[in-house]
């Protein structure tokens, strides 16, 4: 059997974070799993990306060398958010032969919370050709739901949101939670000073709640409630100019407030190794795998009380609700609670890949 994984975005991307990072890691595990099972595993693309620079290392050497036309494959995994999802071509191909399509929908926030995204998805064309982000995402989702045999979602929350849309033509939906990237050579380090480090790993965009976290930390610093520093790790996304200005002008910027906007995996591990608490103040996520990343490294986590976060249960994961003041209070309390050893196993991306591989049978 020839199995393929969509690497279109990985070939086109200039950098890798968030969903592409999940895809890259999953691909490497699937490659290993399918090889053991005697299947052929290839990368495939849905578009010719000649116009964009290729960074083939992003796909992993093995898959990059094993690219096959998707029309030669029996099972297709679409794990990335690929807006060039070839619904029309797949529909035709399915009319000709047996082919299984498994698509991952990470979230549907461009539909449920369009304000969190740039209003217009396409602005370089003339006005008549412009497309709202919400409309474009609906094209994508409708195509995916029309032609996929299975839709995989990372949480019950996303499944419920899709079901609430009331789509007439909807594939079978399976919930397979993501997991943590497995720590490589990870070692917790004690800070040389008494100061403790708070970390938040996320792209900077409005829904991620950075503003609440910075305001909460400002309260803590101003009132001298605790000796804490804040490290933000993540690239700039969109619509966050005010936040960036606020951060740049903050009197603690570069001192107790650090922004790592171009962070390698090694550097991220270094930051995690010194972290005493990971805070996740996001207003919306399809999964939020930075929680697993922190727990896998024995770092306690304080997260906003979103339904999607509360699908997990872990002694070292606490929730808060409210704005900056409530977050500040929760941080001050949580930072004093040491890691509690327990037998709870943190789900990894390998676990995710194993569950995913079972869908082909």
């Amino acid at each position: 059997m020839n199995i393929g994984t969509d690497i279109t975005n990985l070939l086109a991307s200039n950098t890798i974070s968030g969903i592409p990072r999940v895809v890259l890691e999953t691909n490497s595990y699937l490659d290993e799993i399918f090889k053991k099972q005697g299947f052929n595993f290839y990368g495939f693309t849905t578009k010719n990306f000649n116009k964009l620079s290729k960074q083939s290392e992003l796909t992993g050497e093995a898959l990059d060398k094993k690219i096959k036309d998707w029309k030669e494959l029996d099972v297709l995994f679409f794990l990335d958010l690929n807006m060039t999802f070839p619904a029309l071509e797949l529909m035709k191909e399915k009319g000709r032969r047996k082919i299984k399509v498994v698509s991952m929908v990470h979230d549907i926030m461009p539909i449920t919370s369009p304000d969190w995204f740039p209003e217009k998805a396409v602005t370089t064309l003339n006005e008549e050709s412009s497309i709202l982000s919400k409309t474009l995402f609906r094209f994508y989702l409708q195509g995916v739901s029309n032609v996929s045999d299975l839709i995989v979602v990372p949480s019950l929350h996303v499944k419920n949101e899709i079901l609430s849309l009331g789509l007439k033509n909807l594939s079978d939906i399976r919930v397979i939670p993501l997991g943590s990237k497995e720590p490589q050579k990870f070692e917790r380090k004690r800070n040389s000073t008494s100061a403790k480090q708070i970390t938040y790993v996320s792209t900077i965009e409005p829904r991620k709640g950075h503003i609440d976290l910075i305001n909460a930390m400002s309260i803590i610093w101003k009132k001298n409630l605790s000796d804490l520093s804040l490290t933000l790790v993540g690239r700039y996304g969109w619509d966050s100019e005010i936040l960036i200005e606020k951060m740049n002008n903050h009197k603690e910027f570069g001192k107790k407030l650090i922004w790592e906007n171009n962070c390698s995996d090694d550097k991220l591990e270094q930051i995690y190794s010194k972290s005493d608490l990971v805070v996740v103040p996001s207003f919306g996520e399809g999964f939020g795998f930075s929680i697993e990343e922190a727990l896998a490294r024995k770092i306690p986590v304080l997260a906003r009380n979103l339904d999607v976060f509360k699908e997990r249960s872990n002694l070292n994961l606490s929730f808060y609700e409210g704005g900056p003041q409530q977050l500040a209070d929760s941080i001050v309390k949580k930072i004093e609670i040491p890691w509690q050893d327990n037998a709870q196993i943190i789900r990894s991306m390998r676990d995710f890949a194993i569950d995913l591989s079972m869908l082909i049978s």
Binding site: N9, A12, S13, N14, T15, I16, S17, G18, I19, P20, K47, F49, K51, L52, L81, M83, T84, A87, L88, M91, K92, I111, P118, K120, A121, V122, T123, T124, L125, S129, I131, S133, T135, L136, R138, F139, Q142, G143, N146, L165, G166, L167, K168, N169, T203, Y236, G237, W238, D239, E241
Partner: protein, 144 residues
Amino acid sequence: MSQNLNLNLENTSWERIDGEIIVISYNTGKYYSVNKQGSDLLYLIEMKVKRELWSKILKLNFQNFAENTETTQKIDEFIEKCLNEKLLTGGETNIERVELPNDYTRDNWESPELRIFDDLTDILLIDPIHDTSLEGWPNLKNDD
């Protein structure tokens, strides 16, 4: 223009969310988006409501709906555009009363609009998160 119409469901995918319809034609490869007012008209067609009763229903649901030449002309243009795209086909109309879907809050009437996207494969080229500039997708970053 034919007064008796129905949605052409053959090899097309129709979904309505928040009052807006998206249609994918698997015959032509075109994608369509219909604004809320247009989607309500398509609902009346789908429900086989007689054309002469549309105005009465729309008046009940939209504050400023006026049954005048301009409004009728805009509705006719919309229907004609849908027919040209083969999104509508012939059908019977025999229903006199229907409730419009309760999936958005109706306020003022605006002209129905069908937007046609037949060039998506050319423009859907960019990863919306990782390759864009501060202006948003799909304004590419200038990495030179």
